[in-house]
């Protein structure tokens, strides 16, 4: 895919980490959610006091079994959210078990409150009408959201945790050694039998048609990688390099090739390919993943 020019790339690079939440954001939003959802209704003052002290609700809610579980939920989330931004060591060891119980109880209470489970939400559908959001906030109007006034949120503050957070998400989607190849479950979404002729691409210009053909070919490589057919993927991607010598998806092919080389154990070749790739496109969106692969280690 044709890349951004250097100036645009620099702007994205400069801004990327500036969107990360800081340590307090996760806690503040969670507190607001729990209050608006009614989970901590009745202990609002305790919540505020506890949150301010960094030990929310733990003691104040202990008198009620259900409430104590919710408090434990709050405590555990508060301690773990932010991914690196919280001192986990402050959480008493016993709270781990409490959290587990809380989690289970929470799920249980949800299921019992829905005796006849409604049709489950299809992935990606997420039909969330704005009214739904408003409805969820019946106890707290938009204008009275708790503690969401913009405090001094320094962009990039807590940078290490920000990066860790990003890394965590990458890990969540398999963004490590073989991320590009191993985490290509989206390949299933490739319509390999999509319309390929002019009739199927009516209205599309020749360039779009060429891109479509190239994308389908790349999808075959990614499918093979996903299925563990690494040698076949490597053969395909090398053939496609010739077939699409002037194609737009060369960076994607190069990245897939590096993954395939790693997967078949050709580490030296992977490293050579990675060096060439990074020399040409040091700030490519794939660069971080390539550096994290066998080729970058």
């Amino acid at each position: 895919m044709s890349d951004l020019n250097d100036e645009a790339r620099s702007l994205f690079d400069a801004a990327r980490a500036g969107y990360e939440p800081n340590e307090g954001d996760g806690k503040r939003v969670l507190r607001g959610v729990l209050l608006r959802a009614g989970i901590v209704v009745g202990v609002t003052s305790a919540t505020r006091a506890g949150a301010a002290a960094g030990a929310p609700l733990a003691s104040g809610a202990a008198s009620s079994g259900g409430l104590a579980l919710k408090a434990a939920l709050w405590l555990a989330i508060g301690a773990s959210v932010g991914i690196g931004g919280y001192a986990i060591s402050r959480v008493p060891s016993g709270s781990v078990n409490v959290m587990a119980a809380s989690t289970q109880a929470h799920a249980g209470s949800t299921s019992t409150s829905r005796p006849s489970a409604p049709a489950r939400v299809a992935p990606g559908a997420a039909e969330v009408a704005p009214a739904n959001v408003e409805d969820a906030a019946t106890e707290h109007s938009q204008g009275s959201r708790p503690n969401t006034s913009p405090v001094s949120r320094a962009p990039g503050k807590g940078s290490p945790s920000s990066r860790a957070s990003s890394a965590s998400f990458n890990a969540d989607r398999g963004g490590s050694a073989h991320a590009i190849g191993a985490d290509t479950s989206g390949v299933a979404a490739f319509p390999l039998d999509a319309p390929s002729g002019p009739a199927g691409a009516s209205g599309a210009d020749a360039s779009s048609l060429a891109l479509s053909v190239e994308a389908r070919a790349l999808a075959e490589v990614q499918r093979d990688l996903k299925e563990g057919k690494n040698a076949e993927a490597l053969r395909l991607v090398e053939a496609q390099r010739q077939q699409f010598a002037h194609g737009e998806l060369q960076p994607e092919r190069d990245a897939a090739k590096i993954v395939a080389l790693c997967a078949v154990g050709r580490v030296a070749d992977a490293r050579a390919a990675a060096r060439a790739f990074l020399a040409n496109s040091p700030r490519s969106p794939f660069a971080a993943r390539i550096r994290a692969s066998c080729a970058g280690q």
């Binding site: 020019n5 645009a8 969670l30 773990s80 799920a107 990606g124 997420a126 490739f190 998806l249």
Partner: protein
């Protein structure tokens, strides 16, 4: 250091596998940072990101029992984020207030890296203004590729969209963005 949630998972006490329904706590832990930055990147004003994130997680809290399983949670969460972000953007358009650099939100000037943080924040403001010139679909794919650094197949899964369509959309988004940046630089040069 192991987190309480991770410890619970390790003990087999918490449902976290593929096909299981994650708890709200798990969803919050796994997705908060992604929700926050994506709302902002999709055009929610910085001052409203916390409110919008609350809205997202309120919906998640109400509906997470309807989720099909942990393996589709990210796609499900992203769908909610997109809806909420669009709702906020519509509200912002009605308000007609400019989104921009708020001096009160700039980092502590006494911080040793304050200059770097200010530059980063300026880059965010400039980038958001340029992204504002794109339509929603182009903005989404450009943000996911260039900022979230996802691959097109991943995005295809996330959006449940044809990857070929996304490649075409990404190309157009990059072209539109380059034009917007060129206009922005030309305007800067005209200013004293």
């Amino acid at each position: 250091m192991i987190s309480p949630l991770a410890a619970a998972d390790a003990a087999g006490d918490a449902p976290a596998g593929i096909g299981t329904v994650p708890s709200f706590a798990e969803l919050y832990q796994q997705h908060f940072a992604f929700v926050w930055r994506t709302l902002w990147r999709l055009g929610v004003w910085q001052a409203s990101v916390a409110d919008a994130a609350q809205d997202v997680f309120l919906v998640i809290h109400r509906r997470h029992a309807d989720l099909l399983g942990n393996d589709v949670a990210r796609s499900w969460v992203y769908g909610i984020v997109v809806r909420v972000a669009r709702d906020y953007r519509r509200g912002q358009l009605r308000k007609g207030l400019p989104g921009g650099l708020d001096p009160d939100e700039v980092s502590d000037p006494q911080a040793t890296n304050a200059v770097q943080q200010l530059e980063q924040h300026r880059a965010v403001v400039t980038l958001n203004r340029l992204l504002d010139t794109l339509d929603d679909e182009k903005r989404e794919v450009l943000v996911l590729v260039e900022l979230e650094q996802m691959t097109v197949p991943e995005i295809a899964e996330l959006l449940r969209t044809n990857a070929n369509t996304l490649y075409t959309r990404l190309r157009a988004a990059r072209q539109d963005f380059a034009r917007a940046l060129a206009r922005h630089r030309a305007t800067e040069r005209k200013q004293p």
